[in-house]
């Protein structure tokens, strides 16, 4: 009897592995193999038709810290991260709270409206924002006609405002996406918990901090990790909305990596791969910190 049970388990395990094999193989071939290749490439230099090992091997890696433009792209990316992610997540939380209100009418309509920007392609929304904020664009027209601006302002031509536009665009695009996660999380919280708190005399502020936030913690951590990861790899907005300009003041890390592989002139794949691994390590570190901070298990 015991023997038979074991063999059933073994059979089941084998079946499990067989089911997993195709996906595992595909992931290995399509993801892990290129990652390993990129790691090898990151230790090489020269034109891509005849690359050779760098001497010293870490040459590409040490070089990036002397690269002022890359350091600037790191700075820009972190600026977007520090300013945009908190604003976006707070906004998403507020919107989710509002939409979770039992008495709200046309809930489905509002939810769709908030989520809809996520259905727009990254390139097209970037181009739309670009034309909205062009010197002769709609925003300038509105702002001058209601008297906020005296004359048309070149939003995308000034470093400060160009960065602000990118942040506004990101907020528009991604707030609804995160809101949906919060909404799903909120709907998973039993209403009776709130009722109990109400009976105990908790006001809504206390309910939010003592009940909603702790119960939503896994969702909040997930959105944080996803947003950090997404922002560190920001590419489309920088390329399409501002082309990294003016004077490289809005360029992101991924955009700079692209420029090194296919941008101006000939491919510098070795250096570009090394830069990619820098981003990879950054994402890993930030995600690890985030999970450590958020982990309340003993």
């Amino acid at each position: 009897m015991k023997k038979k049970g074991k063999s059933i388990q073994a059979k089941q395990q084998r079946a499990g592995w067989i089911y997993l094999t195709p996906a595992t193989l595909l992931i290995f071939v399509m993801s892990f193999y290129p990652i390993i290749q990129a790691l090898i490439t990151s230790f090489r230099t020269g034109p891509s038709s005849r690359m050779k090992w760098a001497s010293p091997l870490t040459w590409n890696y040490t070089r990036m810290f002397q690269d002022k433009l890359f350091m600037r792209s790191v700075g820009n990316t972190f600026l977007y991260l520090i300013v945009q992610v908190p604003i976006m997540l707070i906004l998403a939380m507020i919107l989710a709270q509002i939409l979770n209100n039992k008495d709200l009418k046309f809930k489905g309509f509002f939810r769709t409206c908030v989520f809809l920007p996520c259905a727009v392609s990254l390139v097209s929304y970037s181009l739309i924002f670009k034309s909205l904020f062009a010197t002769q664009g709609l925003m300038n027209h509105i702002l001058t006609s209601i008297g906020i601006l005296k004359e048309n302002y070149n939003f995308l031509g000034n470093p400060g405002s160009a960065k602000a536009i990118i942040i506004i665009a990101l907020l528009w695009r991604w707030t609804g996406y995160n809101m949906v996660f919060y909404l799903a999380g909120l709907q998973g919280i039993e209403y009776s918990v709130y009722e109990a708190a109400k009976i105990d005399g908790a006001n809504s502020w206390q309910t939010f901090w003592r009940i909603t936030v702790p119960l939503l913690k896994p969702t909040i951590i997930m959105t944080f990790i996803m947003s950090i990861n997404g922002t560190l790899q920001l590419f489309d907005e920088s390329v399409n909305l501002t082309s990294g300009g003016p004077a490289n003041s809005t360029i992101t890390m991924s955009h700079y990596i692209y420029n090194n592989s296919f941008g101006v002139g000939v491919a510098n794949f070795g250096y570009a791969s090394a830069l990619s691994f820098f981003v990879f390590i950054l994402v890993a570190i930030l995600a690890a910190i985030n999970m450590k901070v958020g982990d309340t298990r003993d």
Partner: protein, 458 residues
């Protein structure tokens, strides 16, 4: 219960059937291979047939990749018609349009990186400023055309300097990048000046006129793409200098360049020059949007100027200003046709290019008529078509003028990092206009450029 069984049976039957069908599809191929091995002739025949589909270029057709449906592609069509009419009536040229020049650069990069050139066409159109570095980095991607039957001395020297690598000719020049300065004569007049005042003038005089024009008409006398700023290159070439010297960046120590940066800064401050955010803004907003009274760029900008129909007859062209006066000449951003390493029939490619872009008046006349492509082939530029007055430009024979100006363009030191230099200089200019110190910014641009050049040299 029974029905379910039947359904299951049917489903499995279908699955088995499709599996068998899959095998069946493969089986004849294996079968076919066996007899082929017996009779060698048959195998050779079928082997020849198979690649023939991919390489129809074998006989009398060629494939070419090019960009710009309003400019380069009409020129290629003109060449095809010319070759058909005068050499081989069965010839076909398969023109594959690319959305932009960088598509072709990326295709070469990818082919070169993988070592597999089989996806490349027979001929590509390629930007002049990039070709030297691509030939150096991917030597197998291009073949030289030195032995083509062409009188190379009939081409402008400056243009040929791009496509000549280690003394060998690699490319057939298509267009002529000679820089023009087009002015709105009516607006100049409003401000009290004529086109003759602008010919051979100094930048100092230009700024004076520009201020008057802006005051009277509200239009800028010059605009440029601030993101890919060509002004430094053009103004410096007009002085006979380059941003490179002996293969190294020549920026902070180049007094003329520093002077030019200061002139551009002054022009921007005094509303003489407008720097657009990007290329699209430059063409659509400043030129087509009718913001300017003057346009200075390679003559390929003419089709853009002509898009404003109501300004027909109000434009005329002349040479560029210089620091000390006396007429400046420069060239910017042309392209040439190159035979790739994957070309199926290099002899045909060379023969076709030599018989058309190598100096055929018929090709160049139609290229000019249909696409506004101005030749840099000196003899072809003397045909009647070139000497006709152009209505849009107040009936002046601008094309003859451009060919004539092309002869004066000085040959300056070129560098593979031309566009990289342009990028960093453009960034420096934006910062300077925003109040940064000139020398600090130029030093930054130079450092970044040196950094990148060292990276590539490692």
């Amino acid at each position: 219960m029974k029905r379910r069984k039947i359904t299951a049976l049917l489903a499995s039957a279908i699955m088995v059937g499709s599996l068998l069908a899959g095998c069946a599809g493969a089986a004849p191929a294996a079968d076919a291979a066996a007899p082929a091995a017996d009779s060698g002739e048959e195998a050779a025949a079928s082997a020849e047939e198979a690649p023939a589909a991919a390489a129809e270029a074998g006989s009398n057709s060629l494939t070419v990749w090019a960009w710009d449906a309003n400019f380069n592609i009409p020129a290629l069509k003109a060449a095809e018609a010319d070759y058909k009419a005068n050499v081989d009536p069965d010839f076909t040229l398969n023109i594959v349009e690319q959305s932009q020049s960088s598509d072709i650069e990326n295709a070469i990069t990818l082919a070169g990186s993988s070592g597999d050139y089989s996806q490349l066409p027979d001929i590509v159109l390629f930007q002049d400023h990039f070709i030297q570095r691509y030939v150096a980095d991917y030597p197998d991607a291009f073949v030289d055309v030195n032995d083509a039957e062409v009188d190379w001395t009939d081409f402008g020297e400056e243009k040929l300097s791009y496509s000549t690598i280690d003394g060998k000719h690699y490319g057939f020049p298509v267009d002529n990048g000679t820089c023009i300065f087009a002015y709105r004569v009516d607006l100049l007049e409003e401000a009290g000046y004529t086109i003759d005042d602008m010919t051979d003038c100094t930048w100092e005089k230009f700024i004076e006129v520009g201020e008057a024009v802006y005051e009277k008409t509200g239009k800028y006398l010059l605009s440029m793409d601030g993101d890919g700023n060509d002004l430094f290159y053009l103004m410096l070439q007009a002085e006979g200098l380059s941003q490179f010297k002996d293969g190294k960046p020549y920026i902070t120590e180049n007094e003329t360049l520093v002077q030019i940066v200061n002139i551009i800064h002054e022009m921007c401050e005094k509303n003489v020059c407008y720097l657009a955010n990007d290329w699209g803004d430059y063409t659509d907003q400043t030129i087509i949007g009718d913001m300017v009274a003057g346009v200075m760029n390679g003559n390929w900008i003419i089709p853009t100027i002509r898009q404003v129909a109501e300004n027909s007859g109000k434009w005329e062209i002349t040479n560029m200003p210089t620091i000390n006066g006396g007429g400046g000449y420069a060239a910017n951003g042309g392209s040439s046709l190159y035979v790739t390493g994957n070309c199926k029939d290099t002899d045909l490619a060379k023969k076709f290019l030599a018989a058309t872009f190598g100096g055929s008046v018929e090709t160049y006349d139609n290229a000019l008529r249909d696409g506004g492509v101005v030749t840099c082939c000196i003899s072809a530029g003397q045909s009647d078509v070139y000497n006709e007055g152009v209505e849009y430009f107040n009936n002046t024979p601008i094309y003859a003028q451009i060919v004539e100006m092309g002869g004066h363009v000085p040959v300056i030191e070129q560098n593979d990092f031309h566009y990289t230099a342009r990028q960093y200089m453009a960034a420096a200019m934006i910062n300077i206009n925003n109040g940064a110190d000139v020398m600090t910014e130029l030093k930054n641009a130079e450092d970044q450029l040196i950094f990148e050049m060292e990276g590539a040299a490692q």
